[in-house]
């Protein structure tokens, strides 16, 4: 569903004013992934079929919230003092710190944001763009003045290291953007959006156990200790699974059609796009989408080679990577698109931001003090 065309004279837009990212320091090569899972594949096969050479993994001491807090703090730092203090935090993730409560309030607390509204958003690999659509609407409606959109994933906790089809694909990371209200002509302006879902494909990308259909208690008896706390396949599967062939077909079709829709609403032709960032799932999917759209190779940006598929964090992470390299001039016409489990998809057009990218190491979680009752004002 494409956002309603903006009314004439309605120039107010969410503007990306700050960009932050967090990559865990541990670099894991394809060879190491193969050795750990005793996978029947090769480095050449993985790089040739996916475009991925290495990825970052967080390790047992670092949680999604630790990655998110670091990226969010970096985005706030990037935005600087000209942007209001964040008054809403939205965290897109597939791998929250716990099933309950949401991770976002604790991230907001760790950032010192006080009692701002904070919630998690579950749209798998479309999570960041779902968050951007939501935050932009809240901003333009006046519900908030400076939302933070954070996307953080620790897929190493749900990926099966023995699954050749998924183990080489994923990495851990977080990225965030700080938004403010601005004008449609200025760098960073989020111009138009498109989003959608198709629950008919909900079985194509799954973590089967751990929810109400198959509670975690019923799923814990069959696992083996792989060293990073992941169960083996089978009944009560708590690992991430996807049906690659079907997912590929849906991903290419949905990202292409969603991109076409948002380009049409914006009034841009594909060849006018100067920066195309698709969900960094697989280089072949990215190429297929960009080829179908007609975006020239020189305008396709991404970092899948270095970080793999970081799920919901992949689009802002690639944006941060490209912005840090000054790959585009501020104001350049930019198209973002993503596709994920659900099935979900989303796209956005924006003008390339003019914000200094900040990067940060994961923040260890400080001890939480006993909650103090707060008297109403």
């Amino acid at each position: 569903m494409t956002s309603p065309p903006s009314a004439p004279g309605d120039r107010a837009r969410a503007v990306i004013a700050g960009i932050g990212s967090c990559l865990p320091p541990l670099v894991v090569t394809n060879t190491q992934v193969i050795a750990r899972g005793n996978l029947d594949t090769t480095d050449a096969w993985i790089t040739g079929r996916t475009g991925i050479h290495r990825r970052r993994l967080a390790g047992p001491a670092v949680s999604t919230g630790d990655l998110a807090t670091a990226a969010a703090r970096a985005a706030i730092d990037s935005a600087g003092s000209a942007v209001p203090r964040p008054d809403l935090l939205l965290l897109a993730t597939t791998t929250p710190d716990r099933p309950c409560p949401a991770t976002a309030p604790e991230v907001a607390h760790r950032l010192g944001l006080g009692t701002v509204p904070a919630f998690d958003l579950a749209a798998v690999c479309s999570g960041f763009l779902y968050g951007l659509v939501t935050a932009s609407a809240l901003l333009r409606s006046g519900t908030c003045r400076a939302p933070l959109v954070v996307a953080a994933e620790k897929y190493s906790t749900i990926v099966d290291p023995f699954d050749r089809d998924t183990a080489p694909l994923f990495g851990d990371a977080a990225a965030a953007v700080a938004l403010r209200l601005g004008d449609a002509d200025e760098p960073g302006a989020v111009l138009e959006t498109d989003w959608g879902s198709d629950g008919g494909g909900s079985d194509l990308i799954t973590v089967a156990a751990g929810g109400s259909r198959l509670p975690a208690a019923a799923a814990t008896g069959i696992g083996i200790d792989t060293g990073i706390g992941i169960d083996t396949p089978g009944h009560g599967d708590r690992c991430f699974r996807m049906r690659g062939r079907q997912v590929y077909a849906h991903a290419v079709r949905r990202m292409t059609s969603s991109s076409e829709a948002v380009l049409a609403t914006t009034g841009w032709r594909p060849e006018e796009v100067r920066a195309f960032i698709g969900h960094q799932a697989n280089q072949r999917i990215l190429d297929a989408v960009a080829d179908r759209l007609g975006v020239p190779p020189r305008h396709r940006l991404g970092n899948i080679r270095e970080v793999g598929n970081t799920a919901g964090a992949s689009v802002p992470l690639a944006l941060a990577d490209a912005a840090a390299r000054h790959a585009c001039a501020p104001g350049a016409r930019t198209l973002l698109t993503a596709f994920g489990g659900g099935l979900t998809w989303a796209s956005a057009t924006l003008l390339w931001p003019d914000a200094p990218v900040r990067t940060a190491a994961p923040e260890p979680r400080p001890p939480l003090h006993d909650h103090q009752e707060v008297s109403p004002p």
């Binding site: 062939r245 590929y248 077909a249 290419v252 297929a288």
Partner: protein, 88 residues
């Protein structure tokens, strides 16, 4: 050689680098060094070229043969030719 088969063989050899000597009617796509994603890409290319509704899933399994794909496309093209023109 009929045009559907000729186009399929060209696609297989030029875009997907399948060994030309291995391409015959009974050859399964999985045996032509096309991995799962390449098989979907092949179906996409055939859909785009012929304008027929091949099935992304069933027509891209590893056991689909060259001959079966040719038959499927020709059947769909024939059905399409028999349908009344809805554009008017």
């Amino acid at each position: 050689m009929n045009p559907v088969r000729e186009h399929l063989v060209t696609l297989l050899t030029e875009k997907f680098e399948a060994p030309p000597g291995s391409i015959h009617d009974d050859a399964a796509l999985g045996d032509l060094d096309l991995d799962s994603l390449a098989r979907v890409e092949l179906v996409f290319s055939l859909q785009d070229h012929w304008g027929v509704p091949l099935d992304d899933d069933r027509d891209s399994t590893g056991d689909v043969t060259v001959g079966r794909l040719v038959d499927r496309i020709e059947t769909l093209l024939a059905q399409s030719a028999q349908e009344p023109d809805r554009s008017e």
